[in-house]
Symmetry: C2
Subunit: 298 residues, 2 copies
């Protein structure tokens, strides 16, 4: 498996798999900065690692025939079935956009409303617009991260930076959501005398996992499931994964283990021990099956 799938600190998710497969330039990766302005290069050096040693690993792709990722489901689809294990069909196209709203720092107690350039107001409009657009396009659009400068109770901020996380079943829906958020943010910024700069931090196109491999996995997993449970669920996901990065290079698949809460990115994310066990057995079955065919599914 790969390091830094979340991209929580340096903004770009799946950094380990992107670097190993050459999907991100090592120089760009080294210069990524966290919220405190620390570069990944400096953080690596501080942890005793060599920042010059990162980059594509041709050996990895030369010996890798198939990549199968086992993951807890990050939703509730399996919970409504009799299946402990499901198979992925696709990863929705998705991305992260940064929006910098620049206003004018001023006194929250003395500045007349009409004299303000308060970036919190377009920030708030944008949070709500993202939600409304996600509803309209049956997509996901979330503003879950914001940095307010200077973040003082009595000081209208000079800058609010906000991050949009957007995902949809297809590219057209994703573009509608992102363009809609951009228009709403832009309009609200102009209404309040605030400037807006919006940049994509990372974008990932639709990933359709190998149909052959997916169907083969569904058959193998179904062999262990109860007859009465019906066909193994084959599910798309809105979550990004290293498997999505690898899928551009080798046949790739994913197995999901049922998640009773459906909750993810939270301490409440979990799977029952017996379902986890079923997931491990399914992966073992799949690997045994793939290893029986020299060269895997290629």
């Amino acid at each position: 498996m790969f390091v830094e799938e979340e991209g929580g600190r340096f903004g770009v998710p799946c950094l380990g798999s992107r670097l190993s497969t050459g999907e991100i330039d090592p120089a760009r990766a080294r210069s990524l900065t966290d919220a405190s302005g620390v570069t990944w290069e400096r953080a690596m050096a501080g942890a005793g690692l060599d920042p010059e040693a990162i980059g594509p690993d041709p050996a990895l792709l030369s010996w890798l025939d198939v990549f199968v990722e086992l993951h807890v489901e990050q939703g509730r689809a399996l919970e409504d079935t009799d299946h402990a294990v499901g198979v992925a069909s696709a990863i929705w196209p998705h991305g992260r956009w940064r929006m910098d709203f620049r206003g004018r720092a001023d006194h929250a107690g003395t500045t007349r409303l009409e004299d303000r350039a308060d970036p919190m107001l377009p920030f708030a409009h944008t949070i709500l617009a993202a939600r409304a657009l996600a509803e309209r396009h049956e997509a996901r659009a979330t503003v879950a991260k914001g940095l307010i400068t200077p973040n003082g109770t009595n000081a209208i901020p000079s800058l609010v930076s906000a991050w949009l996380d957007a995902r949809a079943a297809d590219r057209a829906a994703l573009e509608s959501v992102v363009e809609g958020v951009r228009e709403a943010a832009d309009r609200a910024a102009r209404d309040h005398g605030v400037s807006l700069a919006m940049t994509a931090e990372s974008t990932t196109p639709l990933v359709e996992f190998s149909h052959d491999l997916r169907d083969r996995l569904a058959g193998i997993v179904g062999g262990r499931a109860a007859e009465s449970a019906g066909p193994v669920p084959v599910l798309p996901t809105g979550a990004g994964h290293d498997a999505g990065v690898l899928s551009a290079h080798v046949p790739t698949a994913m197995l999901y283990v049922r998640n009773p809460t459906g909750i993810s990115h939270s301490p409440q994310e979990w799977a029952r021990p017996e379902d986890s066990h079923a997931g491990v057995l399914a992966l073992a079955d799949v690997l045994a099956d793939l290893l029986a065919v020299p060269g895997g599914t290629r």
Copy 2:
């Protein structure tokens, strides 16, 4: 003058004057915490100061007859006149309220909209409600500070804490604004399955400066102003000051120096050198006049 007028780090403004005059309990002051959870007690000790040494200073109030504060104007009222110096009439009642919106951490990419308890949404509604209520009541209401937990692009937050700064010309208007924000925040929280806890961090009632002292200062300041400039402006302010705390104990007044931008709490806050000079001369005149009367204005 007094330390820590802004209250930027530990939340309570005018800490120096509140402590010296006994307006805040030293034990409460010591236990105030900053955004990183550091108490004021620990911060003082870390800076080589003795946290046990803080508290009311009876000597201060026994020798203090009058308190006059000289301050840059934090608005544009003087800029529209021919006066470099004005006199304060009152400080609007004002306060700070903390709102904790507790939702449920979850995956921004996989969680269906209808399954979310996203505290960013009531946070956004509250920012906009504060602005609308300030407009309706000719008051000021600002959400300029927010802390988002965990503040990750792809994680719906579990908690958003927001701070309301509200001020109005009188207590009834201030209460209407704060109650309106509370209702809007509460409604939006309920709409999104989020809980809300709202607490007052500090409240300051209307301060009306001594009328005698104010009129005396206006006369003295007017003595240096050009005849054609007309009467010295006497202005209320939405900004809190140590003078507001002192006014409960001794006759208190404030002089304002003209601010060309009207901007405050920003690097753009400034006063022309000649206006600053006029402010110092006005303060010197006022002190000379007060010192000529033993016991000041008492």
